[in-house]
């Protein structure tokens, strides 16, 4: 399925208020923050393993997931937050759908990550209240945008799954469904 990732990038940025200034700030603090991210990933997965519903999806894959996770977190402080970033996050959402990860896990995981990043930022920049607040806002913006993109993918994938099921049940071919949708495109 083709998707307009430029449009989704603008949409995501408008909703999360990820401005060019905040993007620049994330990259600015990246040098200092990136070396500390491994401990967040470690703590994040340790915590996930205490949630019974989450362990089902982690079994035996934690070490490889940690590697992917830390790369993504480093990306939060590297940029650019462009079409390619959006497409990547969209595909991450797709992968989550394929492994049938419940949708609430993404929001839950992002909350846990934000909590840990907040603690790290306060620890690192707490002595400068204004700067610390700006960095926290920028992090909230980029994680919010990332979540929005994954959720878009979830929504599209879920609809696609439901459509496939409907076609199977009704016996309608995809071509017939497309022609039906085209005939009623103005409703």
């Amino acid at each position: 399925m083709s998707y307009d990732f430029d449009k989704l990038t603008s949409y995501g940025k408008s909703f999360s208020e990820l401005t060019p200034e905040r993007e620049a700030l994330l990259i600015e603090v990246g040098k200092e923050i990136k070396p500390k991210l491994a401990s967040i990933t470690e703590d994040f997965y340790q915590y996930l393993l205490t949630i019974p519903e989450a362990t089902t999806f982690l079994g035996g894959r934690v070490e490889s997931l940690k590697k992917t996770h830390i790369l993504w977190m480093e990306g939060l402080f590297t940029g650019p937050f462009d079409k390619a970033y959006t497409e990547h996050m969209y595909k991450v959402g797709d992968v989550h759908v394929k492994v049938k990860l419940p949708v609430e896990f993404m929001a839950g995981a992002m909350t846990l990550i934000n909590q840990r990043l907040t603690a790290l930022i306060v620890e690192t920049y707490g002595h400068d209240k204004d700067y610390c607040a700006q960095v926290l806002t920028a992090i909230s913006a980029v994680t919010g945008m990332s979540l929005l993109m994954m959720q878009q993918s979830y929504q599209a994938s879920t609809l696609l799954e439901e459509l496939e099921k409907f076609l199977k049940i009704s016996g309608m071919s995809r071509a017939l469904f497309t022609n039906l949708a085209t005939a009623y495109r103005d409703i």
Partner: protein, 120 residues
Amino acid sequence: MRSDMLVSILSDLNGASADIEATAVISTDGLTMASVLPASMDEDRVGAMSAAMLSLGDRTAQELARGELEQVLIKGDSGYVLMAYAGKEAVLTVLAKPNAKLGLIFLDVKRAASSIAELL
């Protein structure tokens, strides 16, 4: 031209009974091959909706163990919609008046469907 011949079969069917208001031959993908419809009807919608209904009818007959589908009949207070296969790749749709004599229409539709199937 096959399309002219299809229109000819449909015109004959329309002329066979004053109760028949419109007819169309549609691919099983929902694209209209030929039609004799009132100007107020959207050919694309008639085509796609008919093919979708027949497909659903096919599945319903299978699921509810009714054997091979012969036709789908819809009755509304303004008339009937009758859909039947015309060969394996086409659908014949007929719109008829509410007081239509269905027995005659079924017979005419069966004959027309057979002619269309041969032509295609």
